[in-house]
Amino acid sequence: MTWRGRIARLLALVRGRRLDRELDAEVEAHLEMAERDARNAGLSAEEARWAARRRFGGIEQMKEEHRDRRSVRWIETGLREFRIAVRTLGRAPGFVIVAVLTLALGIGATAAVFSLIQGVLLTPPPYADPARLVLIPSARTGGRPQEGPRPWPAAQWLEWQREAKSVQSIAAYRWMFDFLILPDGVESFEAMAVAPEYFSVVGLEPVLGRKFVASDTTPSAAPVLIIGYELWQRRFGGNRNILGQSVRVSRRNTPVEIVGVMPPGVRFLPAPNVAQEPNYDVNALVDIWVPFSPGSDAAELKRPRWHVVGRLAPGFTPGQAQAELALIAGRQARADPDFAGFTPRVESLTFEYNRDGERILHPLFGAAALVLLIACGNVAALLLLRGLGRRQEYAVRAALGVGRAGLFRQASTESLLVALAGGALGAGLAFAAVRAFQLIGGHAIPRLDAVTTGWPVLLFGLGLALIAATLAGLLPAWRAARLDPNEVLKGAGPKSTAGRGERRLLRAVTVAQTALTLVLLVGAGLLIRTMINIAKAPSGYHTSRILTMSVTAVQMSEAGFHRRALERVQALPGVERAAYAWGVPLTGNNWPMRVIIEGQPVPASAKEAIELPLRSITPGYFGMLGLSLIEGRDFRSNDDEHAPPVAIVNQAFAGRYFPDTATLGKKVWLLGPDKPYCTIVGVVADGRTDDLTRQAAPEIYGSFWQYPAYSKHMLIRTRAEPLSMASAVRSALREVNPNAAVEHIKTFDQIRNDSLAGRTFAMRLLVGFSMVGCLLTLVGIYGVLSLSVASRRHEIAIRAAIGAERRDIRTLILSDGLRLIAGGVAAGLAGALVFSRVLRSFLYEVEPNDPPTLLAVAMLFIGVALLACWAPARRATRVDPMKMLRCE
């Protein structure tokens, strides 16, 4: 068979009608010519016509063969089945609409969560062969708990680089934060300081320009940087002449030359030791890379300040690499006690990259799949019912010689069509849902900005449709195929009632749906309880009517900026009060300090020191947040560099370190035993500053004028809606210093909500999913019970005839419904006990098997489900025994 022939045959599929017409014309002409020849040979007109026909042979058979030979048979048959199915479905628009919408809800939910998974978890970072990349964080030796993440000294990883066989290449990096000074304003950026070999290790090739080379880090080298694709597009309009241009960076005196542009989509590698920095965002796209070298200074080489990323040698596992590196690190620790106490761990980059996303997306995907299963249950029930109504039709077809396979094919083609329509509509719903997720879920899911909807989602939706068609359509199609035509045709008239077999199947489907819905409802209930518990949790401070923004004097030389800016903002109409704070609650920001406390044993080495978070604030901060002073005094504006250092501690601190003695007047060393101490001048009430779900831990507040911070927030208590003041505050700050960077403008309420974003997002989705599941299941229960009433009309009529009251009949039907529901609810509660555990990390002060939640959800569902039974029960009481029995 030639290609030309194959293509022609495919074309014939669509040109079928025309080819048939042409063939008809040819046949007619043929017969005419044959007839004329026969007449010329001396036959009568009649004889000639018959002779021509006879010589031609069977016209219909020939046409059939013509069709077979000119095109592709199986497609042709498939198309015919398809046309028949479309026509049959067209006669039942109600059924089609309900079935398609039901499936679309299920498929839409699943495909929407899938598109998040696809964008967040399945899209690998843009490095070459990312599966072989590993992060090498540190752990304390001997399994001791680690108080904070500790990076590595260059002396250690440089040796690993030389010696490790299991790790092909190693590079170090650090996180940096700075400001770009451009003609049209100041923009903060996060940057990675990387060893020159970094790009080769992770496998990034610049789209423009070059990577770093070793000579970029020599002291005499001209400063260079590489920019990220997104910054290039955003700030430089994708200009290809960018190479060789210089930019100004706030903490450098000389302009820095751009030497390369990296591909899009490169995000930070984790630098957990700086996670408290206000601007640290590991999920952000990298804007700038600067070259860095550990240098050769012995003391500098020993400072633990590097994070390490490596590429496994082919054939090695992270476990083997960890064993080898631990061996080297152990030897290093024995040779130099400064290196003692820490051992490397080797973790797959993909694992680390996906951990947060998996934690929230996997349970949600499971929930969406449950919705889909429930939807499939409803469609299966609908198809079964439809099959019942069409038993006559099937029986006639079977009697006319359509085989079982044919009936099966017809029934499954219909369910496939319905499912595909549902899949297409569902994919559309998913597209819309993803947009909505991006609006409400920004802080809940990392890298949500990278999620796109497109072909994969559509294909996934259609794939789900195929699964749904199988799940929902197989059983009804099988029932259709094993129908006994004799049995059906003997039965009187078209029946719409169900036999025992069907009824049992439908009940099983409904029980399963109820169980799945219960699992969803329990999940939603647990998250709702969590949110209520968090709202009730005593945070210790309030968040309303407070505007926050990060304010930075980019040119550090401007000493008086902060005081003048604060005075200026305080004076704005509509502002009640303003303060600076380094370490605003719920931002994750604080300043981890190794402190020495009067009366506590002085630690033998720095490693043993107590590490506590320091927050640096200006006077009035406590009042603004509603944190009350228990004893002592607030900071004063003259607690500055000329005054003796002072500190305020929280109650948890006082309770832990001075349980029996006065806290006021005690000394605390923040910067080391040889540096001046601070005197504790106040004790402030506890606040849940790290996490609303965690009890307050000891913390120390310093005076901002004594512990100035480069990056910090300005907090402004406003009289009106906080965001309405944003532009006034911004322009006031610009007037004080046109180069001041004013960024991250948010209300304190927003910060609070962002800190709960994961839970809120999970709750909203689960509530939505369980509502959809509930609705579908109620429809299912209603349908099954209605069918049951219809099939039992005869029985009900007899009962009524022998004296059953309406109430008795209602009770009969309702208890039938209740049995159905109770079975599902019991199974669902059992399922919930198993599945709710996946939510554990989201829950607060409620256990996954929380009895009140389980009970409340079960009662609620039973109540609502009984309402769905009400209408069928009423219908049962309306059965008129006389009419009914006379009909028989």
């Binding site: 030639t2 022609a8 040819e26 010519m33 058979q61």
Partner: protein, 112 residues
């Protein structure tokens, strides 16, 4: 090929049609069928209609080409003619046929 034409050896009809068109030039379906009947005498039991599935297939393969013309009874009808590719195909088929024939003949003539 369906059962009622079993008497026409499988695949031979294509060859007969191609050969007919080569000898006679452009013809319509009826004339092709008649010509095959005449040449074969009564030896071949062919329903004339069988010619059409063969013709569409040959046309799809590009071995013959069809154009609409007017029949002797004044009707629109397709006239078929051999294409260059068809001529080559005919040669190939003829060769194949002859080889197969020769092979079978040798077997039949072979002394025990």
């Amino acid at each position: 090929m369906s059962r009622q034409h079993a008497d026409v050896p499988y695949g031979t009809l294509d060859l007969l049609v191609l050969k007919t068109l080569e000898t006679m030039g452009e013809m319509n379906g009826y004339r092709i069928a008649r010509r095959i009947e005449q040449v074969s005498g009564d030896a071949l039991k062919l329903s004339q209609g069988a010619i059409y599935p063969a013709l569409i297939r040959l046309e799809q393969e590009g071995w013959i080409r069809a154009r609409w013309g007017i029949s002797e009874t004044n009707r629109k009808v397709k006239f078929y003619s051999l294409t260059k590719a068809g001529r080559k195909q005919l040669e190939a088929e003829v060769r194949k046929w002859e080889q197969a024939n020769a092979l079978v003949a040798r077997f039949l003539e072979a002394a025990p």
